[in-house]
Symmetry: C2
């Protein structure tokens, strides 16, 4: 219990600074002069739902900000003040959870003043929450929260330690019952933390469960990312690149079925049958979902393919996947819900629609849901919110 004492003021003052600075930086504190950066706030969410971005970059000649509220619009240019602080305001925006990054003289950078970041395999983005009615479903409310666990396991498929995130709903620990599992896959460039940072999966489930709109379930969010290549990836469009993609899809489908699911079913109280397994994913994870269901059609009763679809000519796809497509009866018996969701401005819209049409042509029951918007987390959080209540009924 430290109280104010005459004489110890300087030390206590230093301690206050230590308390709001990284320990490494604090030791060097007294050496440098104050700058406008010390008290700069960014981002600032204003009461009228506009948002102000600021960055101190006195020597820069051009600064812009891009974020997922922009859709395909151009980045917003910031203006410089006399002290070297650049700023811009955007909005009003719809209440939601947004990601963004600055570009300073051509170099992409996260907001140095915002510790809330989305990690990716090769990049970072900054994030902020704009509260309001439209965002309530993903807000961090005073409801019972599940735990989100970081879990490390040895992958025999990849011969290395791999990580996943697992959501266990409140009550799982004290209960003796088994829980069904949603396997939830992220997209390219993200990793297994994606669904619980920018994807807000934990809060979405917490809120659905508090309102009794979904059945209690585990949500397993594995790492589906490619290992960072030692060399630059093959040039897009070359046979080498195509081969690498196909190999990666197959490897992940195998890792899911041979390592991830067995690990979960061994270490958590979950029934080991298709009825109690759902699988959904976005973009690259949508492709992985499709690959896993095509190779292992008897494992998942609920399937969600989001912002993804078929590639190449339909006829070629049909030939390659005949064993799956020509067994509609068997597939329909296991898969109770095959849901395909995509935004009307998504650059993969036609391919998602093509997948739905192809499945229908082969008699495989499926639903196509077309939302507004593009290839963004703004949609994927909504898709999770829409799908979860339908599972395990």
């Amino acid at each position: 219990m430290v109280r104010r004492r005459s004489g110890s003021g300087a030390i206590l003052g230093l301690l206050w600074l230590v308390s709001i600075m990284p320990p490494q930086a604090s030791a060097q504190l007294p050496r440098r002069q104050p700058t406008p950066n010390d008290t700069l706030i960014s981002p600032q969410v204003l009461p009228d739902r506009r948002v102000t971005f600021r960055i101190y970059a006195p020597k820069a000649s051009e600064v812009s900000v891009a974020g997922d509220w922009l859709g395909t619009s151009a980045p917003v240019k910031l203006e410089r003040d006399k002290q070297g602080v650049w700023s811009a305001s955007v909005g009003p925006l719809t209440p939601d959870f947004y990601s963004y990054a600055f570009t300073v003289d051509g170099v992409r950078t996260v907001d140095p003043k915002n510790p809330v970041v989305k990690p990716g395999t090769t990049s970072l983005a900054s994030m902020f929450f704009l509260p309001g009615k439209e965002a309530e479903f993903q807000d961090n409310k005073n409801v019972p929260h599940g735990d989100i666990r970081k879990v490390w396991f040895q992958s025999t498929t990849r011969d290395t330690q791999r990580r996943m995130h697992i959501y266990t709903p409140r009550g799982y620990d004290s209960s003796k019952e088994s829980y069904p599992v949603l396997y939830l896959l992220h997209g390219g460039g993200d990793e297994d933390s994606g669904w619980s940072t920018i994807g807000r999966a934990g809060f979405i489930l917490d809120n659905l469960l508090a309102e009794k709109k979904a059945k209690p379930m585990l949500v397993v969010m594995p790492d589906g990312s490619f290992p960072r290549p030692a060399n630059p990836p093959p040039r897009p469009g070359t046979p080498e690149a195509d081969k690498a993609i196909a190999a990666a899809q197959e490897r992940f489908a195998n890792e899911l079925v041979k390592d991830i699911i067995p690990y979960v079913e061994k270490n958590y109280r979950v029934p080991a049958n298709a009825e109690n397994r759902a699988l959904a994913g976005l973009s690259m994870g949508g492709g992985q979902t499709l690959a896993a269901v095509t190779s292992y059609p008897d494992r998942f009763a609920y399937v969600g393919v989001w912002s993804a679809g078929i590639f190449g000519k339909a006829a070629d796809y049909e030939k390659r996947n005949a064993a799956f497509l020509d067994n509609a009866d068997r597939v329909n018996q296991v898969v109770k819900l095959f849901s395909i969701s995509v935004g009307d401005k998504d650059f993969l819209f036609a391919r998602a629609k093509g997948l739905s049409e192809l499945l229908t042509r082969h008699g495989i029951k499926n639903e196509l849901h077309v939302s507004g918007g593009g290839h963004t987390w703004i949609n994927w959080r909504q898709y999770l919110h829409d799908l979860a209540p339908l599972l395990f009924r």
Copy 2:
């Protein structure tokens, strides 16, 4: 299962790029020209234990890198090549886990090419691991791993949702036994993720448990950070600043005892007694540990104060904390181990030593451990590795 097809190469190539880029960026991919940044690698850990840092900043006039291997040495200047890529090599370094950040024209920035970051309350740092014998105790090995859970709860002390990280050792889920708990506090500027990112607490415990050098325990890592002030903090050394620090210390000690510990003891299989509780913390968290033990001397059987000590004149401190200091018998009966650790180059060295001397003068049993090094995570990971085997024996 996507295979190579003539005609679909361009799409598959685009997908490969999508797979290694953030989804938001990928839609705009075809528009921009390649730069040296696209294939740049940073940091690069070389076989001789040197490390090369690189950043693409063609318009910058000065770039440096600072990290916790430097101690109090000056930041290292990077050199620019013709294409605008700045680079510098450091080392050879001792195998360890390091944090660093660039400064580009006076603006601190994380490494844009390194997704491994340490989040703080107001800042970020980049991190890398240099494997080797000295770092084995904290390496991610093929041993059974515990889960690290992100846990949200309603704090009555602060009237808001608060988060903590909880390590549960492998076997906790399937066991029916109770586990003792180490409450482990971070320092100023960090938050509750600190001990499982840069602190590597999970790996340190996993490795100790695999070698049977520690008793299985839960490690609860709460968020002890100050809420980000709406206004700039009071000027260091002013009575307002002193008051704010004292109030914050007391608030956290209360939150720990009234919210965090009850939540843990209600929701996890842990015995609710002093014998099975340990408390340790670094820097600000060391101060909080001391404050909690002073206010609640009957709650913790094991205490670790790291890189922290007493403030102000010893005589003043003694007067304020007489109820604690003058009851050595009672304290010694509960506290089996009162361990104080500090580096000989730590700017708080004298204060940690002062705490040990003061406790001894009052008959409170304690141990002072002086290591090399300063006020850095390089020491705090070692302190955890040294303390954990002594707990709950």
